[in-house]
């Protein structure tokens, strides 16, 4: 970091960083340390005494089939959300990058989902997919699909994936659009003169040049699918039916809320923390260097 320190007022500098440091220590480091500490403790049924048990909570966690189910659910859910939100985001960005009439109006409409809270997006879709009254649910039922996300785990999964993708498209759209606009026209024109057709030009030139954006968005989207979808899941399915839509983060929330197993919930939090740290590290390692393949 370049040192451009010009002022030397030490007291003033300390006063300036104090609020942020204080808030970080109280609301970030302290709880993170508590989660770590708690994950090594077992509390008796009445919460009266605690015992330090090393990794017992983690071992127990890895013995429960529900935890593996949650890992599977999270993985499957994230894969679908990342793939579809990136694919649609890219498609729309490529189209909105053309010089066509009314493109600004399209762009304005396409950024709306970003502003909608995940839980509110969920409510919009529940309304359309509510069996017996929702427009899409009725259309499905007319066509012989016995649609019911309250009872059918696959239907519940489809519902939350659709909401999560809808909510995330704008974000990917904007970043892809920015990425496309930074590609020099001359490169594409040169390829066109060489006789490359649009599809070929896209896959051999444009798409590789977008790789830093794509990579960045994959990481951001995984983080989104892991953490920011809690509001969607809690509103639409509450993790059900039978845990079929309970992701890892949702399980931390459910187990901790029930309050019966603080150590287990803390152990789950710590595992999630490790996942985020790894994702963030990958992001900085590669994205900062602007991936070039």
């Amino acid at each position: 970091m370049e040192n451009r320190a010009i002022f030397s007022g030490r007291l003033l500098a300390c006063l300036l960083v104090f609020p942020q440091l204080a808030i970080s220590l109280i609301f970030f480091y302290w709880p993170a340390a508590q989660a770590l500490w708690q994950s090594f403790l077992v509390q008796d049924a009445f919460g009266l005494s605690t015992e330090f048990v090393w990794f017992e909570n983690y071992v127990n966690l890895l013995k429960t089939p529900e935890y593996y189910q949650a890992i599977g659910t999270t993985f499957f859910f994230s894969l679908l959300v990342v793939f579809f939100s990136l694919a649609f985001g890219l498609l729309l960005a490529v189209m909105a990058n053309r010089n066509i009439a009314g493109v600004q109006i399209y762009r304005t409409f396409l950024i709306i989902p970003y502003a909608v809270a995940p839980a509110v997006a969920s409510v919009l879709f529940i309304f359309m997919f509510q069996p017996g009254l929702g427009m899409i649910a009725r259309a499905l039922q007319r066509n012989g699909v016995d649609w019911n996300p309250v009872l059918n785990g696959n239907h519940a999964m489809i519902l939350i994936v659709v909401v999560a993708v809808w909510n995330q498209i704008s974000y990917n759209f904007l970043f892809f659009l920015a990425g496309l606009q930074s590609i020099p026209r001359s490169v594409i024109e040169a390829a066109a003169i060489d006789g490359a057709r649009p599809m070929r030009r896209f896959w051999t030139i444009v798409f590789p040049l977008l790789s830093p954006t794509t990579f960045f968005l994959i990481i951001v989207n995984i983080t989104y699918a892991f953490f920011n979808t809690l509001g969607i899941i809690d509103t639409a399915t509450e993790g059900g039916p039978n845990g079929s839509t309970a992701t890892l983060v949702y399980k931390v929330f459910l187990d901790g809320k029930a309050g019966s197993d603080l150590g287990g919930s803390a152990a789950q939090s710590v595992i999630l923390m490790i996942i985020v740290i790894v994702l963030t590290a990958i992001q900085f390692r590669y994205v900062e260097k602007k991936v070039h393949y």
Binding site: F7, M95, I100, R107, A115, F227
Partner: protein, 282 residues
Amino acid sequence: MVEHRRFGNLLPHFVLIAGVIVVAFPVYLAIIASTHDNSVIANGQMPLYPGSHGLETYWNTIMSGTGKTTREPVGGMLLSSFVMAVGIALGKIAISIISAYAIVFFDFPFRMATFWTIFITLMLPVEVRIFPTYKITSDLHMLDSYSGLILPLIASATATLLFRQFFMTVPKELVEASKMDGAGPIRFFFDTLLPLSVTNIAALFVILFIYGWNQYLWPLLITTRDDMQTIVIGIKKIIDVKDALTEWSVAMATAVLAMLPPVAVVVLLQRLFVKGLIETEK
């Protein structure tokens, strides 16, 4: 874009129109549903054009919460959401801009350590440390208060990083010139740096306002009093997926009210928002 083909532009229009329909349809349907009577919605025969109960539904939703149950009026929730979103945005900007200022322009012991201490907070979203954070907030007697809603959510380094990056691009000569004019650190901050940062601040405000407005888990946990509830939480209590008793017109009116402020902010301030988004994340 390179060739001139007569029908070449039809495809983008077609795809974009399809995209806009998919994106806008759920919102449109919510607006329509909020203007119809519950009985029309409940039998599944709701038309795609507005009904005549709009004013009545919105009035009831905002003022009394329909009175059928003991539900809070949505007007109060809007106020809570607004205070929280503005508090998070202004709070985060305020603490970040001064800490970034100190880190970039001051020479003090443990400068790098301070920077890293703040930087690491980028790594963990509040979701993964949620229960310990709850416990600490509760120990500090901040449950059911705006400070409890706001402070834990501003403990993150994104804004600090953005300001730091921006401050690094401020030419050294500017600082020296200002010093030669006899300006101290405080005057330099207010007279030179702050005016230069106005666009950054505005862009960040848009993003943080939406971030705050859309929060779900944290307000859900720490507000137990109904009158502290935010609208994003309130909406979940109105819909009941498991049985058919939901008053859908009220639910949809609430959804529309919950979307209105963040969507308006994003649409009106598009340019700033896009600028800020691309700067903060990259």
